[in-house]
């Protein structure tokens, strides 16, 4: 009975809590852009001339309706991949993104191998 009640409440909340926003999050973009004149800071954290300028441009681009990805690509075109904290998933970077998961799977296989030995014996 208790289970049913809980489940019912959860289903209710699932329908209620649904207002997800799709607009481009300005701060999130700022945090993903590296401040080139600083040591390891994002433009959100820095107040250098460069950070100030680039923030203005990004705000403009958001107003123009550019997506997050388009903004990143624009900046990579101008400043190189160094400027984004999230390496784009292409070419050699693809392996980089995949590698942790390959290790994860490999680790799982190793653990399962411990079990198999038991069946043989």
């Amino acid at each position: 009975m208790k289970f049913k009640l809980l489940t019912l409440l959860i289903v209710f909340f699932l329908f209620e809590v649904h207002a997800s926003s799709s607009n481009v999050e300005q701060n999130q973009i700022f945090k993903n852009i590296r401040c080139l004149v600083c040591q390891g800071q994002s433009i959100a954290d820095s107040n250098s001339d460069f950070a100030q300028t680039i923030k203005l441009v990004i705000k403009d681009k958001i107003k123009e309706g550019k997506t997050e990805k388009e903004i990143y690509n624009f900046l990579i075109e101008k400043y190189g991949q160094w400027i984004v904290y999230k390496p784009p998933m292409n070419g050699s970077n693809f392996l980089f993104w995949l590698f942790p998961y390959l290790i994860f799977i490999a680790g799982g296989v190793v653990i399962i191998m411990f079990f198999k030995k038991k069946e043989n014996n």
Partner: protein, 627 residues
């Protein structure tokens, strides 16, 4: 004078190191079962003299003896006495001396606290540890000598970077070093165990307390560094996934794996070689981290001083360690067959190790990949928070579920008797989660899952906790650490998801409105302090919804020695939320840039990590009591 004394003591220590190695080998030949008293004596002198050596340096900093290069470069006669002292280990040379102290003291303590273990094993541990000590002593003597002389003697020092003049940063290095330099002792013990074939559960019991000590301190050290970054660096975050921060996390992951798998080795006598690998790996990662930080090959916000010649030395040392330990490991390695039941405590510990290795590899890859790409293809790329967050967090969710179920399992063969309770806890967790998000009216699948899984762990740990109060035989340490880890993830999730941030430019006297907040720039004041000038802003923050007012006073400081500009965040914190505000001037303009943040549950993040570490200490005290 102090310089001569210091150098003399360094040479004495080198000599003692060699002597101890010599007598240990001599002692190995003798047929007596106990250790020669000479070895105890020399080890005691060794520890004493390195401590005196360190206090000599502290003395030089206190009296501002600028005939020493390290004092001249990092101190100033007008600096407050507290920071004169902490400046001793706040620089490269002094911190290396701290390294050697910890290596030496751990060496001595391991010697006297492990009398129940065989002589051969203890002697080899001592030998390996003294090789490490010698390695670092040579580094100090030939490359980074804190007692190096300077002529003519300058009248005044250059001063310490003001953002390093901070109480948190004064205790951060010692804590962190006890953590990862402390791991040297089980590196040496693991090598000794391989050489002397002293294996299995008795080896586990000889190192378990040392692992706990280093793990607990490492956890605290990382926490203090993080707190420092939070209020000193002015970005309002506590973890930036900066390569230097990550370098301190690598040994922590392997230590955490070690803490868990040691239990299996001790109880079930399996996984011996895996434990050895983790022992070796932890200290290798510690030295590697030091290499990355000190050599300057990382581009980081935490890089304060670096020099490639240091890099070459540490790299040579590191290579010896890596290939030496690999050589011995491969010589002794046997492929043992283990039989593990899929549903048993052993499996769950392995699952913990599995996830730890995944985190380790991910973070390591994030550090290495840009370095490799640059060295091999000349392409420079950045790997930052989005990479780690995207790769790591989804798997944390699964990890938390295992962490909840794992401790319930029994050794060898397990049957879950309380599945019904677990499902009930899960449903309750989901319900609480949706209540939270319903009240705050925001939605993100990842945050929801994180909150649910952490609540699942928290509730089940709490139930464990109440039940444990009734029983006599309990594992309170484990419950506390696991509970706190759940709390940590929960509060990080909530903190991340419900933070409010606003970045804007404002003039004196202006008012800015956003959401239900009103910020007024009321005053700007210039003040003179002994070693800096400060521009202090006064901003009134009005929460229109709750009708609450808060005054925050951020500062821009202009330090004299050395000439530096720093931005001091104004923080008002309580148990529920932090108000965080930084002010910075905009060049050639009368506007100031204000970054306002409201961060819920910051305090709880610090509390959770402290409690995780407390769990480690608790286990340690319990072990000591049984001992």
């Amino acid at each position: 004078m102090l310089s001569n004394l210091g150098n003399l003591l360094l040479f004495l220590n080198t000599f003692l190191g060699i002597t101890i190695i010599y007598y240990s080998f001599e002692n190995l030949k003798s047929s007596k079962s106990s250790l020669s008293s000479k070895i105890y004596k020399y080890s005691l002198i060794q520890s004493t003299s390195i401590i005196i050596c360190f206090f000599t340096l502290v003395g030089a900093f206190i009296i501002s003896d600028f005939s020493l290069v390290s004092v001249y470069q990092n101190s100033h006669s007008l600096k407050p006495i507290f920071y004169k002292i902490s400046g001793t280990w706040g620089n490269h040379e002094g911190s290396l001396l701290l390294w050697v102290i910890i290596l030496t003291i751990f060496s001595f303590l391991f010697l006297i606290f492990n009398k129940s273990h065989p002589k051969k094993f203890r002697l080899y541990t001592l030998i390996f540890q003294n090789f490490l000590i010698l390695g670092f002593l040579f580094f100090i003597l030939f490359n980074s000598n804190p007692f190096e002389n300077l002529t003519p003697i300058p009248l005044e020092g250059l001063g310490l970077n003001p953002i390093l003049q901070d109480p948190a940063l004064a205790i951060h290095p010692p804590l962190l070093y006890i953590g990862f330099v402390g791991s040297s002792i089980y590196f040496s013990a693991a090598m000794a165990s391989l050489v002397t074939n002293y294996s299995e559960s008795s080896f586990a019991s000889s190192i378990k307390n040392w692992v706990l000590i280093s793990w607990s301190f490492q956890t605290l050290g990382i926490l203090v560094g993080s707190i420092w970054a939070y209020y000193e660096l002015g970005w309002g975050g506590f973890w930036f996934w900066d390569p230097v921060e990550n370098a301190s996390l690598l040994p922590w992951f392997s230590m955490t794996a070690l803490v868990h798998s040691l239990i299996v080795l001790e109880k079930r006598n399996i996984l011996y070689f895996w434990v050895i690998i983790l022992c070796l790996l932890t200290f290798i990662l510690s030295v590697m981290g030091t290499f990355l930080v000190r050599s300057g090959i990382l581009n980081s916000v935490h890089t304060f001083a670096s020099d490639p010649s240091r890099g070459v030395y540490i790299l040579i040392f590191l290579s010896f360690m890596i290939f030496g330990s690999l050589f011995i490991l491969f010589r002794k390695y046997e492929n043992k067959k283990y039989f593990i039941n899929p549903n048993s405590k052993e499996t769950f510990v392995l699952v913990n190790n599995w996830f730890m290795m995944f985190y380790l590899v991910t973070v390591m890859l994030g550090i290495f990949y840009p370095i490799f790409l640059d060295a091999l293809t000349n392409n420079k790329i950045s790997v930052g928070p989005p990479f780690y967050n995207t790769v790591i967090f989804p798997l944390v969710i699964i990890f938390l579920f295992f962490m909840t179920i794992g401790p319930q399992a029994k050794w060898i063969k397990n049957r879950f008797e309380n599945i019904k309770i677990l499902i009930f806890i899960l449903l309750a967790a989901i319900l609480i989660n949706f209540t939270i998000f319903y009240i705050f009216k925001r939605y993100s699948i990842l945050s929801n899952l994180l909150v649910i899984s952490s609540l699942f762990l928290i509730i089940s740990s709490l139930i464990d906790f109440t039940q444990s109060l009734k029983k006599s035989k309990t594992d309170l340490a484990r419950i506390i650490s696991h509970l706190s880890f759940g709390l940590l993830v929960l509060f990080i999730g909530l903190n991340h998801h419900f933070a409010i941030e606003k970045d804007f430019n404002i003039k004196l006297g202006e008012t800015k409105n956003f959401k239900n907040y009103q910020i007024k720039f009321q005053e700007l004041e210039l003040k003179d302090y002994s070693n800096y000038k400060a521009v202090i802003g006064k901003l009134k923050i009005n929460d229109l919804k709750k009708n609450q007012e808060k005054i925050l006073t951020p500062e821009i400081r202009i330090y004299n020695n050395p000439q530096t500009l720093t931005y001091e965040a104004a923080i008002k914190s309580n148990l529920i939320e932090d108000y965080y505000l930084t002010m910075s001037n905009i060049d050639r303009s009368e506007y100031y840039n204000i970054k306002f943040q409201k961060k819920p549950f910051m305090m709880w993040i610090w509390i959770s990590v402290t409690m995780i570490s407390f769990g480690g200490f608790l286990r340690l005290f319990k072990n000591a009591k049984n001992y």
